[in-house]
């Protein structure tokens, strides 16, 4: 177990109007494993990712509960010095907008070497050489020239590669990628995903991929957490999740993908819309939109329970089963 977050809760603002962006979220990542955190906008996935490294802006945000264990340390209670040693070196983060994630007034070279020099005592020349090498590894042509360029001289894909390079310079054990390809074209996205895959292989690096794109998650990760309205709704291995989604929200999400319907036919929809972070419904957050909702769903928030082997679901309506139907699942996985 490389990283384990337990019962994480984050809120924004104070008092009765406070918005609980993350509520009792627990997730775990093994060494070398790729885990996906999926959800629509407003579900709290980005805040979860930020809070793993205590990057949530406080105020107005505040981590109100939980712990994040990296090895034997709790990152939420570590000192600033310890945390600084972890950030960049053991855990690195890549963000969505490469345009705003890179400092526009510093050259790429400056930013990369800074990332090394902050954590290791090496000569500047060595930092430079390593940076050039890393730029080459992430597929940037003519890396020595790029080191002298400014971010605005690079394209979106290049910037994202440079960000990934910056994250990997100190060989972190875990890379948290928050919507790394959302702002990119689909061909560039394919390149970046392929890059992440090969880098993970080469460095045995774990990956937490935060995204709203189910297709990207399907192709990249091994396990998936599905978030809805600040809570985990479902957790399963990726084949299980895509083969047989259990939570009504997950099922609804898959059903309304354009690829599922036949061309020209009406798509399935999930009626209603995602609740505001400050105004979650009582009981199960999803009950106003759920086709299976019963009376208990309006009162009691369903706990995240093991309903099948290696599958957690937070839903009153999903029954517990012990033996999975292997054959049926295989068929559905290829549907």
């Amino acid at each position: 177990m490389l990283l384990e977050a337990r019962h994480l809760s984050v809120q924004f603002g104070e008092g009765p109007a406070a918005a609980r962006a993350v509520n009792d979220v627990s997730l775990s990542i093994d060494a070398g494993e790729a885990v996906g955190l999926v959800g629509e906008s407003g579900c709290g996935k980005s805040v979860t990712g930020l809070s793993l490294m205590r990057l949530v802006e406080s105020p107005p945000g505040r981590i109100t509960a939980g712990e994040v264990r990296l090895g034997d340390r709790d990152l939420l209670r570590a000192s600033d010095r310890e945390l600084r040693a972890v950030r960049g070196q053991e855990i690195a983060m890549v963000f969505q907008e490469p345009m705003t994630s890179l400092n526009p007034v510093l050259t790429i070279g400056d930013q990369l070497t800074e990332a090394i020099l902050l954590h290791e005592r090496v000569a500047p020349e060595e930092a430079w050489t390593r940076s050039v090498a890393m730029l080459g590894e992430v597929g940037i042509p003519e890396p020595e020239d790029r080191m002298l360029q400014y971010p605005h001289e690079l394209s979106g894909g290049m910037k994202q590669r440079a960000m990934i390079a910056m994250g990997l310079l100190c060989r972190p054990k875990l890379l948290i990628a928050d919507e790394p390809t959302t702002a990119l074209d689909v061909t560039v996205q394919a390149q970046i995903l392929e890059l992440l895959r090969s880098l993970r292989e080469r460095y045995r690096m774990a990956l937490l991929l935060i995204t709203h794109d189910l297709a990207v998650v399907a192709e990249t990760v091994e396990r998936v957490y599905v978030m809805y309205a600040s809570r985990i709704a479902e957790h399963a291995r990726v084949e299980d999740l895509f083969g047989e989604p259990l939570h009504p929200y997950t099922r609804g999400l898959f059903a309304c993908l354009p690829g599922r319907g036949r061309p020209g036919e009406r798509l399935q929809v999930i009626p209603g819309r995602v609740p505001d972070p400050g105004h979650h419904p009582t009981g199960c957050r999803f009950h106003p939109r759920c086709p299976l909702a019963q009376e208990v769903c309006t009162r009691v928030d369903p706990p995240l329970e093991l309903k099948r082997p290696e599958r957690l679901v937070a839903c009153h309506m999903v029954a517990r089963e012990d033996a999975p139907a292997d054959a049926a699942r295989e068929d559905r996985a290829h549907a």
Binding site: F12, A21, G42, G44, S46, V47, V269, D276
Partner: protein, 426 residues
Amino acid sequence: MNRSVESSAPTPPPPGPRRGYWAGVWRQFRRNRAAVVGLACVMGLFAVAFLAPLLANRYPFVWTASDPETGRTVTSFPLVRQFFAPPEKVVPERVLEMTYNYLLLFLPCAGLVWWASSRLGAWRQGRWLLAPVGVLLLLPFVLVQPRLDPTPYRRLAAQDQGQGVFPPVPYGPFEQGFGNRIPPTWWDDESLEGARDTYHLLGTDNAGRDVFVRVIHGARVSLAVGIVSVFIATAIGILIGATAGYFGGCVDLLLSRLIEIMICFPTFFLILTIIAVMEQRSILNIMLVIGVTAWTGVARLVRGEVLKQRSLDYVTASVALGARSSRTIFRHVLPNSLAPVFVSMTFGIASSILLESGLSFLGFGVDIPTASWGELLNQAREAPAVYWWLALFPGLPIFFTVTIYNLVGEGLRDAMDPRLRMGPAA
């Protein structure tokens, strides 16, 4: 419409009061305590300025005396007459006083009509009343003769020859003869022998006029100069800025260079120069000069906003709908570009007041005998330590006014900032 269950049934908009943009701004503004206090003080300042002739006047509200010839008691209302015909000799100043006095009468009536008509529901018809009411209220200002009533009411009252109800401070702003440069009555000063007849809370100035009265009337001048000059500057600024921003190209090029040239001039010296060559230094001229030199900030602000708004999709949508340029500009671009202008106006009032005070302090501002805070400061210039009441008591209102306007301006700016109102992005 028949819709199947699985079809999209969107959640209707949240119930509750419909919240326009300004309602949201006001709610946010209210949370800023300093700003709310500032706003209350601004309203207090407005109250003082409007009520000035009722607070401090040499004439009583009502005066009863027995006519020496007939022996009958005669009641007259000297202050009321003077209210409609202020004593200022110079036209612009008199117009200013008359405008204040008129508004003092008109605004409460308008408020009443507004309130009554919205209560009664037939609001459209009710609001038409405002026009005839406005005209009716104008009549006394036109008909009353601008002739000073020379009766020495106070002296007669002191001699028990008639009684009157006087305003709280029974002196006029131009009334001289109380003794030059006398410190406040409550200030123990051994240099003066004997008690004085009249009580002066803040002392007298170098022409023997009561300082407290001049400070109160000076509020009128400062406020008027502040507001009118800012209006002029904003009007010019919006015109130039919006034209440059919307039409772009050569127009923008030329107008931007014009703005930059204007910025290069040091404003204060420019104003001094213009005033020096003007023949008559009236309030109107001061307002004009300040207004005509202060528009550049607004112009750049508006130009920037217009440029930003022009590229947004809703403007494109308006064009796609077939709207003419004029409709697009006035209905879409301008209303959304003016938000920062309000903030700039608030700060502009503060700096304009400061500017006028500075000009008057140097002797380039209002002409004698108009009362202005800066002008009082000017009198203290000779020996501010000796004539400290002439420096302190006009200086405090200047400081106070500028501070409260700045507080309100900051509060407004923060209230309008959309980022501060948005919740966390998850």
